[in-house]
Symmetry: C2
């Protein structure tokens, strides 16, 4: 049998993302041992019962000891601190990577604090379901989805290569780009839609012209459209505050686009509206 890519893998945060990666790597025989690290004991116990991890601990310092690769799969706002506080317990040459939806602030933050004897590679697999926790993990989560890695000039080439091969082993389509590009793209395709969904629900819920609320009239279309407004408020607060400049830029671009539609409605610009909607439909249908 070939030597696995990773001997000992430590996962901080054994949820949908970290758990699915562990399952994919185990399925391919690319990891020999997986240690799960987390705060909630029931979730860790379930992860072990599901054979996602071999062992677990609630103590990060203990869990990262001897790991070749450490995946930080915790909320974006906690990643830099977790690395800063626990790195002295990691072995020389250990590779740390993350799955956070924002890269600029995280990569810069880690670069500022990281020991020279360790390596960090920023990562973001663009995948997910509405479920969370270890029980939602499955080995095919990353199959065919994109995973963006954001090395800097300081990033060790061998470490980047190992993280890249790890995601390829999970069948992800790995793309390498700069943090700035990642953060702009994600602001557009993910962060802006969430802000829009939250604002839309609050707008409709805020219509108090009638005796009763009007949300009860909403049919399937509205429910589908606003599903992402059911996402975690804490998570999205952190993401948009950590990707502030790009999020504001996208909100401004969007507001201008919606303003164009508003003006055309006001002016009764029949051909203008038709062209606008047709262009949008064409782009949407191309997905």
């Amino acid at each position: 049998m070939e030597k696995p890519l990773i001997n000992k893998l430590a996962i901080i945060g054994v949820g949908l993302m970290g758990g699915s990666l562990a399952l994919a790597l185990r399925e391919k025989g690319e990891v020999a041992e997986v240690v799960g690290i987390g705060r909630g004991l029931p979730n860790l116990e379930e992860a072990k019962a599901l054979r996602i991890i071999d062992s677990y601990t609630q103590n990060i310092m203990e869990g990262v000891r001897g790991a070749d690769v450490v995946i930080v799969a915790t909320p974006v706002g906690s990643i830099v601190d977790i690395i800063a506080e626990n790195q002295k317990h990691m072995k020389d040459g250990a590779i740390i990577t993350d799955v956070g939806s924002v890269k600029g602030e995280i990569v810069e933050g880690v670069d500022r604090v990281l020991d020279d004897r360790l390596h960090f590679v920023g990562g973001h697999p663009i995948a997910g379901t509405e479920k969370s926790g270890a029980s939602a993990a499955f080995p095919g989560l990353y199959r065919g989805s994109r995973c963006i890695l954001t090395p800097t000039q300081k990033t060790d080439k061998a470490a980047l290569d190992k993280v890249l091969r790890m995601w390829q082993a999970a069948d992800a389509d790995v793309i390498v780009m700069e943090t700035k590009e990642h953060d702009k793209i994600l602001a557009a395709i993910s962060h802006l839609p969430h802000m829009v969904a939250y604002a839309l629900v609050n707008t409709v819920d805020g219509v108090r012209d009638f005796e009763e609320g009007i949300l009860k009239y909403s049919a399937g279309g509205f429910k589908d459209f606003t599903r992402i407004a059911s996402s975690s408020p804490e998570m999205w607060r952190d993401i948009c505050l950590m990707n502030r400049a790009a999020v504001i830029d996208m909100i401004d671009r969007f507001t201008a686009q919606l303003g164009d539609i508003r003006d055309m409605v006001e002016e009764g610009d029949n051909p203008g509206l038709l062209e606008n909607f047709e262009r949008s439909k064409q782009a949407r249908d191309s997905l």
Copy 2:
């Protein structure tokens, strides 16, 4: 056997909406004869083959002759003209109703042109699927969904009652309200989300900072969120131009809400964003 509610029903536009109503009424034995009227021969032939209608014609004047109830299930921009041009061929006391997503302009328009010997009741069943055409029709489309009727002071009480019982026979939850209220509610829960979706896709597709378009990075969430941007551009142009004032009002309310989020992101207003997103999630989860 009891006498059916409607002896002869004429449906102008035998698509998902009109076809499903005919199927529901037939299933309940509440209609004796259904004539389908439309422009496309293949769709009419299919509607007959599917036993949605008993006979068909491409000539509206011919199709409405002798009908007790005429349903106008055509695009919102055509309803008033169709009634104006064909009413002289309808029998005395015939009841006309529609399924348009806008009520103010249609009800006022019909009121201006309608012969005294005929009755009109504005209607809007809030139902639909992504499919269209007679082949998509099914008798359960309206089951448990809301149907809004918008009579005016001039509306004949017996005609209103008959249209109400017709929708109840299709298992719809019928609600009577003023046109203005209908148009405000629909602007909020339906028209605004469509404008937002069109603007969102155009915004993201308009990001040309990189070599390639960025829509290809979008994952499932973005696709779900923007599904309604695949709706018919002609239909939505007509709807928003016919519900102009309410659509503009809702766009303005929404823009203010999104502006609040933008300001909180810029100011790093951690508790403000959390409260805003939590309020939105709570309203969305209540659906």
